[in-house]
């Protein structure tokens, strides 16, 4: 059973939203500024710059911890920037390698008639069925997005949900012990909390 949840601190931005959300389910959130193996689950939270976040994690040893965590099959949740950090590289920070847990890259929205960042509630279309992750959720739900870059995933079968903002893009991936969303489930009202609850249940059954 998951009890202690480590929230990785890249040194910039708001960790309180995810901290509060984790507490809702009776779990113990711990903000991680350095390596700490005494946690049952890791969260790579949203907000921040790809290059700065990776550099910060490399300096404090959390970069290695996440990779080890993944290899050991322990649960990892990535949110917003988090879904991007687990990929190989990003247009936001050329020459900087991501965690590389998943084969894919991060590219910038290039849209003619839409404002960037994509900052609004948008439809998340779940591409899978009959999973504990979708308990109490409809096939399509609104979640809150704030981002200028989006993930491009090579292995199509791990794409769990997609969204559209000028183009279709992957908004959620599930690969065994790794779940990641481009949207902020911790700021997406009751549906967001429900999805977080489902993810924790899913991790507990791994």
């Amino acid at each position: 059973m998951i009890k202690k949840v480590g929230i990785i601190n890249y040194g910039a931005g708001n960790l309180m939203s995810i901290y509060k959300a984790v507490k809702v389910f009776g779990l113990q959130p711990i903000i991680l500024d350095k390596q700490n193996n005494n946690v049952d689950m890791l969260i790579l939270p949203g907000v921040g710059n790809f290059g700065a976040a990776i550099k910060n994690m490399q300096q404090n040893g959390l970069f290695e911890q996440v990779i080890k965590f993944f290899e050991f099959g322990k649960p990892i949740l990535g949110i917003c920037l988090g879904i991007q950090l687990v990929l190989k590289n990003s247009q936001e920070a050329k020459n900087i390698h991501g965690l590389g847990l998943i084969d894919g890259k991060v590219v910038k929205f290039k849209l003619k008639n839409l404002v960037v960042p994509h900052m609004c509630w948008n439809i998340v279309k779940f591409e899978k069925e009959d999973t504990i992750l979708l308990d109490g959720l409809k096939k399509e739900e609104y979640f809150y997005f704030v981002h200028s870059y989006y993930p491009v995933i090579k292995q199509k079968e791990i794409i769990f949900a997609t969204s559209n903002y000028g183009i279709n893009f992957c908004s959620m991936i599930v690969k065994n012990n790794l779940v990641a969303t481009q949207f902020h489930l911790e700021k997406s009202g009751q549906k967001g909390l429900k999805l977080l609850e489902n993810i924790i249940t899913y991790f507990n059954k791994l």
Binding site: N14, K20, M119, I123, K187
Partner: protein, 261 residues
């Protein structure tokens, strides 16, 4: 497809929600903690919390109120009022704000916006612009061109800055969003300033939140359809329960506007 955000705004003075007209004659409208929770549960897409009497002395009180308010809010929370430094922003984010709105300090020290965006990310930095119409210049014999001036210090101090020019500047400074309030329309319930809003939306490529003047559902529909604004903010109509957020959203949907319901 993406949706237009409906945002209730809490103007907070000494820990209480108040509402005035043209930024004056404030009256009590509720408790921020209770109102924010109610809006969050009721379908608000975001909540804006503005400390309208922010002074250095009551900063600590503010952080406590923000913390209490944020506790029950699971939609994005923007907090503004009296922000002067990176440290103020950090404290607000640590208290539970997701974004901060900077107004006076952005005008006095534009580099603060740039620096804050570099540290916390553009998505986190909202520049609030309070605009007042000053004149209609004649660009030729027939064409009249409206002009708005930026006001600071809670709408009390004119700056000499042109709103459109300032809006372009804040985009260049990497602000993620503009919260545009018409001082002329604020609290009048006579509708948003369409001309002002359209002018700003057409001149920047970052999201703009229209604010000031909402009194009827038609006002929301009008500003969204005529200006292509990303979000609409309102206070009185929601606080005094004239309309629920849900009712406004259903009406917008019936008019073919994408909203989250």
């Amino acid at each position: 497809m993406y949706t237009v955000r409906i945002i209730p705004c809490l103007d907070v003075k000494d820990g209480k929600v108040v509402k005035g007209i043209h930024f004056e004659n404030l009256r009590y409208a509720g408790d921020p903690v209770e109102l924010a929770k109610w809006y969050s549960d009721e379908g608000a897409d975001e909540i804006v919390f503005l400390d309208i009497t922010a002074t250095i002395q009551n900063r600590k009180t503010l952080y406590k109120v923000v913390e209490k308010t944020a506790k029950n809010v699971f939609v994005p929370l923007t907090v503004g009022g009296g922000i002067r430094s990176i440290e103020d922003i950090r404290n607000l984010l640590n208290s539970g704000a997701d974004k901060v709105a900077i107004n006076t300090a952005a005008v006095k020290n534009p580099q603060l916006v740039k620096q804050a965006a570099e540290i916390f990310g553009s998505q986190c930095i909202v520049v609030a612009i309070d605009a007042k119409k000053v004149f209609e210049a004649r660009t030729s014999k027939k064409v009249k061109k409206s002009c708005w001036e930026v006001y600071i210090n809670a709408g009390t101090t004119p700056t000499g800055l042109d709103v459109i020019k300032w809006a372009k500047d804040v985009e260049r400074l990497s602000a993620g969003e503009i919260l545009l309030t018409s001082i002329d329309a604020d609290g009048t319930k006579q509708g948003y300033d369409i001309e002002l809003t359209k002018n700003v939306v057409d001149n920047v490529s970052i999201p703009v939140i229209a604010s000031g003047g909402a009194g009827k559902i038609e006002h929301f529909i009008e500003v969204i359809k005529k200006t292509n604004v990303s979000a609409v903010l309102a206070a009185s109509v929601f606080h005094y329960k004239k309309y629920s957020i849900k009712k406004v959203k259903l009406a917008l949907k019936n008019h073919g506007i994408n909203v989250r319901i």
